[in-house]
Symmetry: D2
Subunit: 247 residues, 4 copies
Amino acid sequence: MKKLNVVVWNEYRHEKKREHIRAIYPDGLHGLIKSFLDVNEDMEVSLAALDDPDQGLPDERLEKIDVLIWWGHMAHGEVNDELVAKIQKRVYEGKMGFVALHSAHHSKPFRAIVGTNGNLSWGRNQKEIMWTLMPSHEIAAGIPDHFLIDEEELYSEPFYIPQPDALVFGGWFEDGHIMRAGACFHRGAGRLFYFQPGHEECRALYNPYVQRIITNAVRWAKPVEFGYEIPEGAPKVHHKIIDEFQQ
Amino acid sequence: MKKLNVVVWNEYRHEKKREHIRAIYPDGLHGLIKSFLDVNEDMEVSLAALDDPDQGLPDERLEKIDVLIWWGHMAHGEVNDELVAKIQKRVYEGKMGFVALHSAHHSKPFRAIVGTNGNLSWGRNQKEIMWTLMPSHEIAAGIPDHFLIDEEELYSEPFYIPQPDALVFGGWFEDGHIMRAGACFHRGAGRLFYFQPGHEECRALYNPYVQRIITNAVRWAKPVEFGYEIPEGAPKVHHKIIDEFQQ
Amino acid sequence: MKKLNVVVWNEYRHEKKREHIRAIYPDGLHGLIKSFLDVNEDMEVSLAALDDPDQGLPDERLEKIDVLIWWGHMAHGEVNDELVAKIQKRVYEGKMGFVALHSAHHSKPFRAIVGTNGNLSWGRNQKEIMWTLMPSHEIAAGIPDHFLIDEEELYSEPFYIPQPDALVFGGWFEDGHIMRAGACFHRGAGRLFYFQPGHEECRALYNPYVQRIITNAVRWAKPVEFGYEIPEGAPKVHHKIIDEFQQ
Amino acid sequence: MKKLNVVVWNEYRHEKKREHIRAIYPDGLHGLIKSFLDVNEDMEVSLAALDDPDQGLPDERLEKIDVLIWWGHMAHGEVNDELVAKIQKRVYEGKMGFVALHSAHHSKPFRAIVGTNGNLSWGRNQKEIMWTLMPSHEIAAGIPDHFLIDEEELYSEPFYIPQPDALVFGGWFEDGHIMRAGACFHRGAGRLFYFQPGHEECRALYNPYVQRIITNAVRWAKPVEFGYEIPEGAPKVHHKIIDEFQQ
């Protein structure tokens, strides 16, 4: 069995600059994500960071990725526009899935792939309760009807995303807010999943249900087996399709 | 201008049996709904109730309705199956829109039209905050990003509805729940809107934003101007459509 | 590995009554479908027919089915309403997926599960070209951008279905028609796929791409692993969910 | 009544360079579109072109537009990226609707707003039959179940758009192709409609049904009345929303 090539991309600045964040994620948020994905025999997981050469994603690496997980926050603006265009292209051509976590709602790739400004409201860390809205979706496999997250940054509606192809989870926040928290988007020949938990100051990524959801999402977002070559442009048709009946 | 023929159908049992409910809705829930719709010059609003002859909807009346608003709760089972089939047929043929309020989630017409068992969880009356998820939708016209409902019966996810064509509102409940609270469904050639507030023991229907949403929903659900006759069955095609080019 | 329990239900009248149809499907349409599904090691496939005892689906059998494939045409009205209610319930509770083929668009279970009258237009047998609209969907796995069906009964828009959760295939017909030919619906906690080819007078079910699509659809429609018990009714909540944080 | 400020933007190169195209659209494609929109008393229609100063859309003009209709083809690459960003922003903030015609499927604003590479297949001019898929949609108002277009450029699936919020029309092409031809997208707080007919060498824009659809689309795409200020960024929440109950 060929393993899924999964890369966890992290801005990886907070963890280096702030001790209390490093205390929570000593190997980086991406390191923690890798650690719980590594138990899956169908995945080969590696790390990438903004300050790596080529922002962690040189062409020869990007071209092998099956699913790219993205976490960014304070340095969205530093991400190279050409890299963003390559990521978007790769997703649209169905070569790679994309999983956007938490503050990646404002990242360049998320906004470009989905078609959104990514705007929402946000506030203090607080209790969240995650609700399953679509138990028939494979990303909800093994997840109870609701589960608790002791502390997570407030993210609130209105969230200016397009209506998702599947709205799998919704979040309740202590102060009176709700959030479309887990949402699937088909774009081009590829797929993207957005999941709201994962603030750098909180421990949501240690939650086993959050880990299961991200694991499910990787498998959901992976490219399907295409029965034809997805075009890079807009091909011209040179014969009458109906003439194929006579062949 | 031809006015919209709007009928507010109410089970109308609670208000007659229980004094504290009658105190809130002395003219019935349907009477209150009629009162705030009556200010609209484009609507002609009338009332119907389960205990009326023909359950309030004899054929000659049903055939004139543009939008049917439905409130039922304790007596869903008493609603005549033949009447339900007629309502479903009329919506599918695009002759009538349907607005289902609150406990109508379990009503026969709602379940038959939408394709759902209507199941959800429910509990004690409590504070609700209604959030606008889709400000670009006409049913959200004039509605703020959120508004308060002092008391409403808890209705909670998982709500076993199909993914709506437009998910316009979401509800936050004090005890930790969320709810897809305002949802549009296109069915056949017709339309249906479900809206969660409207418990008989509470005063949500007095809330001006709730009233505006129901008003917007009536206008949204009304039949469109069809450019052809919507069939009652499955018509056979007797000529080659492409031959029309030669005519 | 536990195999998927797949039952192919067929009205099975045409094949017995008309010789030219029996010539195409000597073991019935369901027999042919079973034959190409049987090659899959993850499926245990069996047959059921309208004229079997209990219309082929006694309770103790129905309760074990993972995916029910349905073909019916001339005898929709004979299908027992109680059986239809059981099928609908089982799909809504996520215990069974449903695959509706061809003239099952007018079958009782399809209409009840999806929420539609199932109306469309139809006509003479002719050439069809099937187009892939959503290559990122797993039901399109291995299917080219288009393929030919030498002869199939005309089924045409307007098809009065709700907008599907995923519209995977579209059909082109020689005489000038199109058809939303492959459509996914999530309903309750379950799934349904409708696929248009499969007329009893034609050989579309022998087409390897049609066979692959039905195979893919069985795997897509199968129940997911639920992380909680899907309720049969509407459960009352007896505690404050937020109090679970203190436990 | 305040009129809708509608601007028809046209690349306007073909008509100037090629005589046979100028013969069809002597006042430009945009001039023809303006002529049939002008009969509507609720619209104030004006023209803009790529070679106008500021590409026809200086800030002070753009800021007043309610609905922008876009036709472009051979010079997509010349459209200013900053202008595209302004158009996208204005749509996402719900200040302006966008109607993309024909070859605008590959235009920068369409791709950026929707989230697509806009790829499709294309070919020779030929007969098209337009089918209504969603008669319950207001853009289908007054349109028959199908109508003929004598000649139009082939545009074919797979069309790499996200699944639309409403798929209103589908096109059948003589040579064996289909196309999702009329599709609605809600994006941010705004709306976009794509419509496939409108090739510069053909006369589809003279078709009264095509004209009606574009007219309907302008009214559908116009901004709704918002009940709150749509944010330009991601606002921080400085109080507990639940505390509003005590005010």
